[in-house]
């Protein structure tokens, strides 16, 4: 409690403890692409497993090809996420800013 006695404006108070407003570093790496890619890879793998090497039924088997159908749901989800990422206004704004 020594150096901070002489503070004028509150902004100066313990300024060294504060973060600058923005670092200026661009963080717009599109996480959406990574998510979509991972889900698509898993979805396609499961569809293929479901079609080509039908697994032994699990104990609580419900009588349908789980790998195929849930794989399909994942492929669709992956496509939706990919579409949303491509259409994102944030991405468009950034591409315009880069003059492409």
């Amino acid at each position: 409690m020594t150096e901070e006695h002489q503070t004028g404006e509150h902004q100066d108070y313990l300024e060294e403890e504060r973060v600058s407003e923005h670092s200026g570093t661009n963080h717009s790496m599109a996480i959406g692409f990574y998510i979509a890619a991972l889900i698509l890879i898993y979805g396609v793998t499961m569809v293929l497993v479901g079609l080509l090497s039908p697994a032994a039924p699990s104990e609580g088997d419900l009588g349908f090809n789980v790998n195929f159908w849930w794989g399909l749901v994942m492929v669709v989800s992956g496509c939706v996420i990919l579409g949303m990422t491509l259409a994102s206004p944030r991405r468009r704004a950034q591409r315009e800013a880069e003059g492409r």
Partner: protein
């Protein structure tokens, strides 16, 4: 505690329930996940130019990312395995930890506390304590928080190892070492951004893994009514109806649920745990920061169903033998192994793995930030270059992971993961919430008032636990409530006899001395109060439905 004795003999019977099927497919699915996680870290590494990029993502992320990461950091071992275990042991009452025990606090932190945190431009929660109170309060809280994070990180690592063991049949130690190496890899490379991106990724994986589990399970047992019949304990299906007395699965009355859990434990966690607050601090502007907890609140509601039902389904298909210490923690993986064929099972278990890894990475990033900004910088080396602090953060990551390995084995000695975490929360976070509440809303609170209150509250929690060693959920709720009251009373008493800070030092830190810097948000459905009212209404509806 009473369940501990039966566990040893049942263990042998229940063990072969899950067969280890080690195929190329499982290795492929896990392998792809690891490549992605480390790949994201490697890409982000090139963007880590300053220490602020590393510790705070340069305050540059959009709110949907910070919002999902806010939840992702919270959805660690506790929320998936722990809540599933709790549901198998206590029934639908476990949902109190999702609904009354989370949503009101998430709304409160968004509307009333994030503006202080974000606008005061602090690096961390202890950093805020430094500004509002004094160096001693910051130091005390930083040390406690660092220990707390390492303990939690150990729990996540332990849970991760359990999944590896189930999935690939590896030994617990080998699994712990592998999970440590992966988390170490990506946090060291990409810092908080790496951690946040993986939390978002994890959120999608775990949702895609748990939704089919609940759907298949409910189809199989014949819906909610079928579940009721097969479990045949009506108390398991009422969240509130039996809380007039302690004659319910939790063995707690509604008073402790509402005030111990709903007020103190929950507000303590969501409002002051730097693990989650750090995600909001990484948002690009004040409006996005405020929206962060609200965006997280919606999937949190959903997880009340996605994490509770697998536990109930496991109980229904496996019977009461699942309600033992070691087996309850595995309720969710068991249910997966029961319904999912090879392929789907590999994916489901990888999703669990992702949840624990991101939970652990969250603990480690919170730890390295507090260590660097609140312990190393003020007490060890004040005037080093930015690059130096960046490297200190990376070294702290390595040390944090190594210490977590040790604490992973500690998690083995508690009734369930859930009980262990609640013991820790009650001790570390409940007193802190008292300190924050007074600090933010009563300008007369003094630096030493805050410090003595926090020490007294934490001291009470620790002593009360060490004397009784009671890790029951009700005991934790009661302990949290008393620790919080001790903090309030001591803080007020000491504040009244010590010198308050001048108003100009408190500007921006205390309600009433802060210009209302509302985040500007034009779109109606993004306005904080619209989101807040909606999520609260759904919470009330769910509680009535499961009354």
């Amino acid at each position: 505690m009473r369940r501990k004795e039966e566990s040893v003999e049942t263990l042998a019977i229940v063990q072969p329930l899950v067969k280890v099927n080690e195929t190329w497919l499982d290795y492929f699915i896990i392998g792809v996940y690891f490549v992605f996680v480390l790949g994201i870290g490697a890409v982000l590494r090139t963007k880590m130019q300053t220490s602020e990029d590393y510790f705070l993502s340069g305050r540059s992320l959009p709110s949907w990312i910070t919002g999902l990461a806010f939840l992702g950091a919270n959805l660690g071992a506790l929320e998936i395995m722990g809540m599933g275990a709790g549901a198998a042991t206590y029934g639908i009452m476990q949902s109190h930890y999702y609904w009354i025990g989370a949503i009101p606090a998430m709304v409160f932190v968004a509307l009333f506390m994030i503006p202080f945190y974000y606008a005061s431009r602090v690096h961390s929660v202890p950093g805020f304590l430094r500004l509002r109170y004094n160096e001693a309060t910051r130091g005390f809280n930083s040390v406690l928080f660092a220990i707390f994070m390492i303990l939690l990180s150990g729990i996540n690592m332990f849970a991760m190892a359990l999944v590896f063991q189930l999935l690939l049949g590896w030994s617990l130690t080998a699994s712990i070492l592998l999970s440590a190496a992966i988390v170490l890899g990506y946090v060291t490379l990409g810092g908080l951004s790496s951690s946040i991106y993986n939390e978002v990724l994890q959120f999608f994986l775990i949702t895609l893994g748990l939704v089919p589990l609940v759907v298949f399970g409910l189809i199989d047992v014949g819906g909610l009514s079928g579940l009721r019949e097969s479990i045949s304990d009506p108390q398991f299906f009422h969240a509130w109806a039996n809380t007039g007395t302690a004659d319910n699965p939790f063995e707690v009355q509604w008073f402790y649920i509402v005030f111990g859990l709903g007020l103190v434990q929950s507000f303590g966690y969501w409002c002051t745990d730097f693990l989650v607050v750090q995600r909001a601090l990484a948002a690009e502007d004040l409006a996005a920061a405020q929206r962060t907890p609200l965006i997280a609140a919606f999937p949190k509601l959903l997880y009340g169903v996605l994490a509770i039902f697998p536990g109930l389904i496991a109980l229904s298909i496996l019977g009461p033998k699942i309600q033992t210490v070691d087996q309850a923690n595995n309720a969710v993986p068991y249910a997966m192994a029961y319904y999912f064929p090879t392929g789907m099972l590999g994916f489901g278990l990888t999703a669990l793995l992702a949840a624990f890894m991101s939970g652990m990475a969250g603990n480690i990033t919170a730890f390295n930030t507090v260590w660097t900004y609140d312990l190393y910088k003020p007490y060890i080396n004040r005037n080093a270059s930015d690059r130096h602090y960046l490297n200190v953060g990376r070294i702290a990551t390595v040390v944090g992971v190594l210490l977590s390995i040790a604490t992973a084995y500690l998690a083995l000695s508690f009734t369930t993961i859930m009980n262990y975490v609640q013991v820790l929360h009650g001790m570390f976070l409940a007193p802190l919430f008292g300190t924050f509440l007074l600090g933010m809303f009563w300008r007369r609170t003094t630096g030493w008032g805050g410090f003595t209150g926090l020490v007294a509250g934490t001291g009470y929690g620790l002593t009360a636990y060490l004397i009784t060693l009671d890790d029951g959920l009700g005991a934790s709720m009661a302990r949290a409530l008393i620790a919080w009251i001790v903090t309030l009373v001591v803080t007020i008493a000491v504040s009244l006899v010590t010198q308050p800070k001048p108003d100009n030092e408190l500007r921006g830190l205390v309600w009433g001395l802060t210009e209302q810097k509302e985040g500007v948000e034009e779109v109606w459905y993004k306005k904080p109060w619209v989101l807040a009212v909606t999520v609260l209404a759904i919470t009330i509806a769910l509680n009535i439905y499961f009354w």
